[in-house]
């Protein structure tokens, strides 16, 4: 029984948590890819900057003596989301829009976004250094241990408060995004621009407004993902760079320009990671007594050593590019 609980903790809960993070990031990437037509490499660093904003406000709130039943970082998250959205619009205005107006090739936009990545990295490290920081200033991280009253189980199903908040937040985002994109004028206009920008323009759709909305959603969700991940672990300046590849993989798996594909892609990549690094030999342990003598009892059956976790999204990405470049939800044909 303990082995099964271990499996639930390591594969199901961890997969849901990391999948939610990837999903929140991939939604932004896929919307930007669909509407502005370039792979936004600076997205990971928007996450870091967003988390940094949240940390600053948290520290201010803590020093002012505010307390709350949920982590302060979560309470102030909307502020960080708004600030990051403004930052994203500003970055677009200063760095991407001039290139777009000149009619630059998308690949040059990709390069500009890497330029922005490096600048954000430089600024974050300049002001915050490279050390890890915790969001819990004078607070305790709540950890829930749920005992399973079956058989001889001694382990507990373990989930932390920020993990619950993350999962709930992601679920709300999925519902809200669905409502926004299929029920509101602005959301439908976004889908229209993503589908056919020329036709959107001749229909009189305000493309500037759509671009702004894209950055607001992308930037806001990036900040939320960064904050929630940092709440669960710690805030490190290079936290988000390692998220970039899985997030791109999620967006491409889900089909470019397909927000719900991106969410599904995020969970696919997240679970693929936890499934790959899990030691499946543990699940065989209860059968040790009946294991045939002839075969050596396996102590370790993991597909990927933890150090190579990053290889999982990469191979998913490659597999999708080979067999189904449009993604499972059939995104735009390029």
């Amino acid at each position: 029984m303990d082995e099964l609980i271990f499996f639930i903790n390591k594969v199901l809960i961890n997969g849901t948590v990391i999948g939610s993070i990837y999903a929140l990031g991939a939604v932004g990437v896929t919307l930007i890819f669909g509407i502005l037509r370039f792979a936004h490499f600076a997205h990971g660093d928007l996450m870091t900057v967003g988390a940094m904003f949240a940390l600053i406000v948290t520290a201010l709130a803590a020093s002012a003596g505010f307390t709350a039943p949920v982590p302060m970082g979560f309470i102030v998250m909307p502020v960080a989301m708004a600030a990051t959205a403004v930052l994203a619009i500003g970055l677009d205005h200063v760095f991407y829009k001039p290139l777009r107006d000149k009619g630059t090739r998308p690949v040059v936009m990709v390069m500009a976004s890497i330029g922005v990545t490096l600048m954000l990295q430089g600024v974050v490290r300049l002001f915050a250094g490279t050390q890890s920081r915790s969001f819990y200033i004078g607070e305790q991280k709540d950890i829930f241990r749920i005992a399973v009253p079956i058989g001889d189980a001694r382990r507990t199903i373990t989930i932390t408060e920020p993990q619950i908040l993350l999962i709930v937040f992601t679920a709300i985002v999925v519902v809200a995004l669905h409502y926004f994109l299929t029920r509101t004028r602005r959301g439908k206009a976004m889908r229209a621009v993503s589908d056919n920008p020329d036709l959107a323009r001749v229909s009189g759709i305000d493309t500037q407004m759509v671009v702004r909305t894209t950055w607001i959603i992308g930037g806001g969700l990036a900040a939320a993902a960064g904050t929630l991940l940092s709440l669960d672990v710690v805030l490190k300046p290079d936290l988000s760079f390692n998220l970039l590849l899985p997030i791109f993989a999620a967006a491409i798996v889900g089909g470019i320009g397909q927000p719900f594909g991106a969410i599904a892609g995020g969970f696919i990549v997240g679970f693929a990671e936890t499934v790959s690094i899990f030691n499946w030999a543990l699940l065989l342990r209860p059968f040790r007594d009946i294991w045939p003598e002839a075969i050596e009892f396996p102590t370790r059956i993991a597909f990927v050593p933890t150090e190579y976790k990053l290889a999982v999204p990469f191979f998913i990405l490659i597999a999708v590019l080979i067999w189904r470049p449009t993604g499972i939800f059939k995104g735009r044909q390029f």
């Binding site: 439908k188 056919n196 036709l199 323009r201 001749v202 229909s203």
Partner: protein, 237 residues
């Protein structure tokens, strides 16, 4: 006097950056008229529509809509002024439903456009059944209806159609021409580019025969069909 014209373009010169494709095109139609632009390939027919709709830079010449100068105004300014444009290709949002396509046509309107939707479904009955289907899944003729319906949703006074019957079967072609006439009956001016010159000129109030970026003949549709020079050179005998 020029104020009588719904749209009036005088002496248009322009192109896509290189050499001029338009070399002195004149277009003018009155309210409630159907204007048809015909001519051989490369005559600048589609380019003329794009120039009117601000999709390429007019280097010389003027365009007036209801007497207001709109030369080189961008599309997003022209739609609120009552102009709508249906491109020849990629003229629907393939991943949006039929109804969402129509709603996008009404994007510039802030009032309630329920009535307009019903109106479109009465002009194009096949669309009513398919309103929740993705536009990309429809047949070519139905897609053309979605495209025209989308353009009409902004309640334009003038609609520009770029080869609405390209690639359609003769059956659908007649249906589309039928709808064009119906649109005009509702008080919307139509300016269209058409390959099927004879059929289109038959119901045109004004016809423009372009060749090499310039007007060769301009007259009523019937007169152009009757003109032996036009018939010989441009209508295939």
């Amino acid at each position: 006097m020029s104020g009588d014209y719904l749209i009036e373009a005088k002496g248009l010169f322009g192109g896509y950056g290189g050499a001029d494709i338009l070399r002195g095109v004149d277009i003018a139609i009155r309210r409630d008229q159907i204007g048809v632009i015909v001519g051989p390939n490369g005559a600048g027919k589609s380019t003329t529509l794009k120039a009117l709709f601000g999709l390429l830079t007019v280097r010389e010449g003027t365009v007036q809509l209801n007497g207001t100068d709109i030369t080189n105004a961008p599309p997003e300014k022209l739609v609120p002024l009552g102009m709508a444009y249906v491109p020849q290709e990629l003229n629907v949002f393939g991943t949006l439903t039929v109804e969402e396509n129509l709603e996008m046509g009404a994007y510039v309107r802030r009032d309630d456009f329920r009535d307009s939707l019903d109106h479109i479904y009465t002009i194009f009955p096949p669309l009513a059944d398919k309103k929740d289907q993705a536009a990309g899944e429809l047949s070519g003729g139905q897609r053309q209806m979605v495209a025209m319906g989308r353009a009409l949703m902004s309640e334009p006074s003038l609609i520009l159609l770029d080869e609405p019957t390209a690639g359609l079967s003769p059956l659908y072609m007649d249906q589309i021409f039928d709808r064009v006439v119906a649109i005009r009956k509702n008080g919307v001016g139509v300016l269209m580019v058409e390959q099927n010159a004879k059929q289109a000129l038959a119901f045109a109030d004004v016809g423009f025969v372009l060749a090499q970026g310039d007007n060769r003949f301009t007259d009523t549709g019937a007169a152009l069909i009757a003109d032996p020079d036009v018939a010989k050179s441009f209508l295939g005998g």
